[in-house]
């Protein structure tokens, strides 16, 4: 039971992270019909920006973890928002009328460039960095089950971000404009929507949500490295696909489903837990063969 409880908490944590990455893929696909392959590496840049900000705050004498956490979050979000908007403005929009595969390739190469830049130019960038533990480390005990405060805070934060995104998309004028652009770009422009601005804002939004995932990941494992975006990006993309690309709720479901598969692979299968990713990806491939358009097919009002 105790071990099971830990797996559930771990699964929820990972599911939240994957969902946060997956919604980015879905947002970008929604407004521009493109797959932005550099998404995972933007997440990694967010985690490194946050790490740098925390170290910087500490060096400047802000010793309180909350001050460092605030610096981490502000810089990670702002940095990735700017990076995401810049990628949209100077890479993706100019390629908009090129074949979709070209955009996929261009963003794949950009991701590699980002990864290599951090590895080569960040001080000692090829080695993992110890991400500081900025959250309270207290814990609660029920029998043999321990619930750590930091894990709980991370899961709750992630869920709040997802709920906030849902409200933004469905209840605000910006969200209405994003949905309009996703359904019909030209008519959206005819309504007086500044199309380019909405695209840039959407990319900024999706990228900073990925930074949240990157920082969460760092805080949870107390470690980040230049390659962390590769697997997280791939998992987020898979989650978006199995949920039905373009569907926000499908992406969230896909994220939690992938985490659940990893947990099942680690606990309930007759092979070593190191194979959990192989197991999860195998099931995803089977799911894709079974439901090629995703578990939640694109339907009424739910394109983004």
């Amino acid at each position: 039971m105790d071990l099971f409880g830990q797996y559930v908490v771990n699964g929820l944590m990972l599911g939240t992270v994957y969902a946060l990455v997956a919604v980015g893929f879905t947002l970008f696909f929604g407004v521009l019909d493109v797959i932005k392959f550099s998404h995972g590496d933007v997440l990694m840049v967010g985690a490194f920006t946050g790490f740098t900000a925390a170290s910087g705050a500490a060096a400047l004498g802000f010793s309180h973890p909350l001050a460092q956490l605030a610096a981490t979050v502000v810089f990670a979000l702002a940095g990735t928002a700017a990076l995401g908007a810049a990628i949209a403005r100077w890479l993706i929009l100019p390629l908009k009328s090129a074949p979709r595969l070209n955009i996929l390739l261009a963003t794949l190469m950009l991701g590699t460039a980002l990864r290599e830049s951090v590895r080569l130019f960040y001080p000692d960038g090829s080695n993992p960095k110890a991400f500081p533990a900025l959250l309270p480390t207290s814990s609660w005990q029920w029998g043999q089950f321990t619930l750590r405060a930091d894990s709980s805070i991370l899961v709750v934060t992630g869920v709040l971000v997802i709920v906030g995104l849902h409200l933004l998309i469905n209840r605000t004028r910006l969200g209405l404009a994003i949905r309009a652009v996703a359904q019909d770009e030209e008519t959206a422009r005819t309504m007086g929507i500044n199309y380019t601005l909405i695209v840039l804002v959407t990319f900024a939004l999706g990228s900073s949500i990925a930074a949240v995932a990157g920082v969460m990941n760092g805080l949870y494992y107390n470690e980040i490295n230049f390659g962390m975006g590769l697997l997280l990006g791939l998992i987020g993309f898979s989650a978006a696909i199995i949920g039905g690309l373009g569907n926000l709720y499908g992406a969230i479901l896909g994220g939690f489903l992938f985490a659940a598969l990893q947990m099942i692979g680690a606990v309930a299968m007759p092979f070593a837990s190191a194979y959990k990713d192989v197991f999860a990806f195998a099931v995803v491939i089977a799911l894709m063969a079974w439901k090629p358009t995703g578990l939640i097919p694109e339907r009424a009002s739910d394109r983004v």
Binding site: L176, A177, A180, E186, R189, T190, N194, Y195, T196, S301
Partner: protein, 236 residues
């Protein structure tokens, strides 16, 4: 008073084919000015050029005296322009109310948007009943209402309408023309693209005929009705 639309020497093309050749025309404020022409004449392309959706190759477009050639679409709209596009172009997966709200996208005041919504629901009671229905599931006639209502939500000074009667039953067509007359009565200039010659000329103040991408006739509605060139261009 500045013309609502003043186009001079306009050329437009898609990848290869020239679609508009040296088009010049004027839409006087407060009028219904129509643009007649058969399929493929370039009428929709002309509207796209005005709105900046298909930037023209040469020539100039002025809206209420301001040069808008090459301007982004949302800036043209901000000058008091609204468009009811060809084929109505609902956002099919948004509700009727959301579609209408998008018509007033540039209006910052929520109170004003609510006031305009009430006005549209007043004109089209059917839309009020169905405000939470997805627009894509509305009937063709109902979608026409949404599209007109959405155009009015922007409280435009100039409304550009592209073939509003396309695909509607004669009863709806008649109703549509009545509504367009009512829009002019509210002081809104209407630039109306139509193929329905007789009913259009019956309500229009002035008009032009487009054929093969060129303006081949123009004048008051009365002049057009008796213009031999117009008959030649239009009825072959």
């Amino acid at each position: 008073m500045d013309a609502a639309i003043e186009i001079s020497g306009l050329h437009a093309a898609y990848d290869k084919a020239d679609v508009l050749i040296d088009v010049s025309l004027t839409v006087a404020p407060g009028t219904i000015t129509c643009l007649l022409g058969s399929n493929g004449a370039g009428k929709t392309t002309l509207i796209r050029a005005i709105l900046g959706l298909t930037p023209p190759r040469a020539g100039s477009v002025k809206v209420f005296g301001a040069e808008v050639t090459g301007e982004a679409t949302h800036r043209v709209i901000a000058r008091g322009v609204a468009c009811i596009p060809e084929g109505r172009r609902m956002f099919p997966k948004l509700t009727v109310a959301e579609n209408l709200r998008l018509g007033a996208y540039q209006e910052p005041s929520e109170a004003e948007i609510k006031r305009r919504l009430a006005e549209v629901y007043d004109t089209f009671p059917r839309l009020a009943e169905r405000r939470n229905q997805l627009a894509g599931t509305m009937s063709g006639g109902e979608q026409a209402m949404v599209s007109i209502g959405r155009g009015l939500m922007g409280k435009p000074r100039l409304l550009i309408v592209d073939e509003p009667s396309l695909g509607l039953s004669p009863l709806y067509v008649k109703e549509n023309f009545r509504i367009i007359e009512g829009i002019r009565a509210r002081g809104i200039t209407v630039f109306l693209v139509e193929q329905n010659v007789h009913q259009t000329l019956a309500i229009a103040d002035a008009g032009y005929v487009l054929s093969g991408g060129r303006v081949v006739a123009g004048g008051t509605a009365a002049e057009l009705k008796s213009n031999a060139e117009f008959h030649a261009a239009y009825f072959g």
